[in-house]
Symmetry: D2
Subunit: 337 residues, 4 copies
């Protein structure tokens, strides 16, 4: 049984703790936070775990295998680095780090020490995204032409990260999961509508070569929308994360070109397909538990993380380029590779 620590018990850390505690493969050995009141409330819930306000004390535990880091983004690098230097496998809340130099250093450090560096891109482990990946890889939808993701709702305005750094890692990691590569360039527009100068409404346009992707992030929307659309050359997918019973739909609808079968009213050779819509059965599991199982597989079985440091780095590089684009009024900026 692996022994793990959770560092940072604010919003997300308790979820990690709960899943470690109920896991058959990972023991919740340490809970760590600077805030004593959080520690004490968690201590009463998980009496068998040790608690500390000092990460070093945790990392010094020779029997500890892995560390899950859910501290503020600005501290990810420092905490993760110390954990890796102490020989621990590391899982980091998204985004991996506050800039790409940090992310790259963590990735290299983990590689050099043969440790797992894992990013908490938890959506990749949901039944919906897993199914979407299977469908795409099966060839059923053909080549991807475009991706359009809308992730908007009345969100908690933050003052250490803008809406891109807060929300886009979800979309960017799902796109990365599907395409397995970085975009060439990005155009980002956005605005800070409420006082603190943090962009709260933003749009990303990503050029992945043949594939173009757009992402709409918005903390000010009165309605909550979670639409992720994948337009393929054969079929298209709509992943609606808010539709509890039919979150994935595969549409056999689209436009065929050069088919020779039809001429539209102004002369173009195209034909339109309007076929079945299929909402496939999804397995039922908690994404976080699934993710931690994969984390354990990576540590124990040497599997390559689906959301490893390389993906985390690609996501951070996109966010950096997006910030540069935002700062230059939407200028197209290359994404570092």
């Amino acid at each position: 049984m692996l022994r793990a620590a959770v560092i940072g018990l604010g919003y997300w850390g308790p979820n990690l703790a709960r899943n470690f505690a109920s896991s058959q493969r990972i023991e919740l050995r340490w809970l760590c936070d600077l805030d004593e009141s959080r520690l004490s409330s968690m201590r009463s819930r998980y009496p068998s775990a040790r608690t500390s306000s000092d990460p070093e004390e945790v990392f010094n535990d020779p029997d500890l295998d892995a560390v899950a880091i859910a501290t503020p983004v600005s501290t990810h690098y420092e905490v993760a680095k110390r954990a890796l230097l102490a020989g621990k496998h590391v899982l980091v809340e998204k985004p991996l780090a506050a800039n790409s130099e940090q992310a790259q250093e963590l990735m290299e450090l983990a590689r050099a020490r043969n440790l797992v560096l894992f990013v908490d891109h938890v959506f990749l482990y949901s039944p919906s995204v897993q199914k979407m990946g299977q469908i795409y890889r099966s060839g059923e939808i053909g080549e991807i032409r475009f991706i359009d993701s809308v992730r908007i709702n009345l969100g908690l305005i933050q003052n250490d990260v803008n809406v891109l750094w807060d929300l886009a890692p979800h979309d960017l990691s799902i796109i990365d999961f599907l395409l397995g590569r970085a975009p060439v360039s990005v155009v980002a527009v956005g605005e800070s509508h409420v006082a603190n100068g943090m962009v709260d409404v933003s749009y990303l346009h990503l050029d992945y070569g043949e594939v173009k992707a757009a992402v709409h992030l918005n903390w000010l929307s009165p309605v909550k929308i979670r639409h992720f659309m994948v337009g393929g050359s054969k079929k298209s997918i709509l992943y609606n994360d808010l539709d509890r019973s039919e979150s994935i739909k595969v549409y056999d609808r689209g436009v065929n070109v050069d088919s020779g079968e039809a001429i539209n009213r102004r002369g173009l050779l195209v034909s339109y397909r309007s076929g079945d819509v299929l909402s496939p059965r999804l397995d039922s599991f908690e994404p976080l538990a699934q993710m931690l199982g994969h984390f354990a597989d990576c540590i124990e079985g040497g599997e390559t993380p689906i959301s490893g440091g390389d993906q985390g780095l690609r996501v951070v590089r996109i966010l950096e380029a997006a910030d540069r684009s935002l700062a230059h009024g939407g200028e197209r900026h290359p994404v570092q590779t």
Copy 2:
């Protein structure tokens, strides 16, 4: 009773003819198209109207008051100019012309001759958009912060105009109706995914100073979405054109700043409101009939068109700037004023 002609009997012209025919204020006097089969089918439906394949014959009718033009975009300028020169009031299908020089010339010609130049921005005359305008002007939603419009579906690929020129006039005219001014600049990204080089998926980002607007146009979407969201400082509106029973919703939800009432978890002074949602009763009328009534008011009563040549020109200028931005990889381009 005003006497009107319809020039161009393809897709939209028959709707104009039908509404003229059932109007109490406008008589359908002429039907004109180059295609004899279209003429004859319309002739049997409206036996009291005259038909011609030559617009000049129509314009030469001294008893004719007004001409509605529903020919291909590339011909709008030529046909409208000849109608104005013949002293007729003119209604033109959107967009007003194929470029801004043409649009401006038409506007000036109409002004010089004291004729009505009216653009068929028909959505402005729908119960939903009329209500949205009333609500905004009442001050209920406060200052507009952002507008986000999504107009996507499996659409008819055209080979004389791209998806922007085909669909965006709807959104741009609604935004113009609300804001009453032109944007400063535009960023447009897009792609031609099917063979003919015409952009079929596109995004517009418009800078109206304090207000930022985004429009998503897509001919390849497997699902049809018509969402027009107006984020205000007090309340927000969602206009969902596909919701037949509650197409307008006013959300008393949002973020207040500097209220002093609440400090979020990372120190910003903001508070969140989550209040009632109101879907106001809408009048029930056909937008096209409403528009033609207003057209008659402008001719007979000297009213200023809600969708006059000036608005038509502003829309065309945005489309031109958007084309330039598209051609330069999404570079921000100023909109001519």
Copy 3:
């Protein structure tokens, strides 16, 4: 080309006229109504049709083949009988007649004279119901266990028929189309909530032996719902007439019994399936045009009407039994066969 008359030009008659006028197989020869203003408005729209306020004049036309009757229900019998006696094929608005004696007499008269007696159960000719019939007949959903239909909205209160006679023929004809037989008995409850004593909210429970069906009809509902659910032993269908893009969904979900695979928490041998949901592509056609084509096939090609007098009679018998049940506080009443 068949020559047809439309008798009764109130709400539904003009739709029949329009479809005859645009049909390639049936000529609109006569328009008949007691109301001169209706006649004159229709005359201007269909100048080639003859008009009359006297059905006898119409029936006396020796070149007339068929008569479509859209007069008030109470007159169906008299008008249809005279048309049949005049040797005309007859299409009658639903319900076929005001009572089962009349319906039966019409059916027998048509049979004796070898004329087509056709009931305007127009929903049977919609793409959705046609597809539902195909799916059921293919065996895909197994045996039907239950049917539940909800047809409610803020409806026009009528004072010659109650909500059952107004709306239930739609549901009852669809059920008849699927099952092809009459129910054994019916329980009907209902109430007249607004002043005139006509039942405006009602529920029907139909016993078709193995299959049980329920229908909810309501003129007072603030929301419009059109749900027709077919629970099968293998799969189930939901036909939502208001869902324009996915009106038919086939659910591979259900309960299996005696499977031996699972024991629920209290000991019953059942297993639950939760599989794919498929929304099949539907053809796109107007139900009324499709129906009139079938009417022509029945006249010219000797086909048996899908919605013939026998079905019309079964529907009327259910309505009669339902009225009796309503009058006796929901007592179960047999349906005459």
Copy 4:
């Protein structure tokens, strides 16, 4: 601080335990179940609670104030009676008892001993139902004309109670909460479609005098629906428990009679209103926590339970009459009062 026990740790008991444990007013003092494995799993979660497999041991604790009973329905009476005889306040999972004699005896016993008898009709304590009650009591919707509730989904087939006893207490308690009285009579139809003879699809029709109510319960529906519609003389309410953002909607739509303003096409004096739709803001709280707070108020402050033994008895009497009606083919049966 009140001290409470939870008897029965199957499906619902753990929820009660969790809410007692997090309550500021009630201490979770005892956990009781016959199954040792359940007890031990709960013991590790709530180390400060005592555990027992014998209810008598629990009831003998002189410091215990209240007992929450979540055992099988057939045992409610016996366990509750013993708790009351031991002088404890009692909260019983719905339905209160397996028959009305038992329910009445419990009610009388509690009354005689001046103890609180409380039924776990938890929906009454949800933000949605609370708001619905406020709206109705404010007079805004006028007199209630009809109630229609649909509670269907692929449910767990049970073999100790039919679908009525399993699900209808929710609907019946909400109706009782609104009307505050028992129905005069009931018509129930239903069928056991899967092998064990337990009715799995059922419809209840309740006569409350001026108000008529219908409830559709179904364990075999492939889709989940939770619609509770209240038709009023002025306005109507739709409570859709699955709509997370707008679960309550108030429709200013309806039919007015004798208004003198309009004559419908067949002569009845009615007018139709189509006004605003309002979805009021709802408070955000967990129904179960709210309910337990009210339970504490009843014990400590002498408040009358919203869902007391009298309501529990009325619900059981309806279920009994419904079972009799089911057994007699839908015959109308009086409800005992």
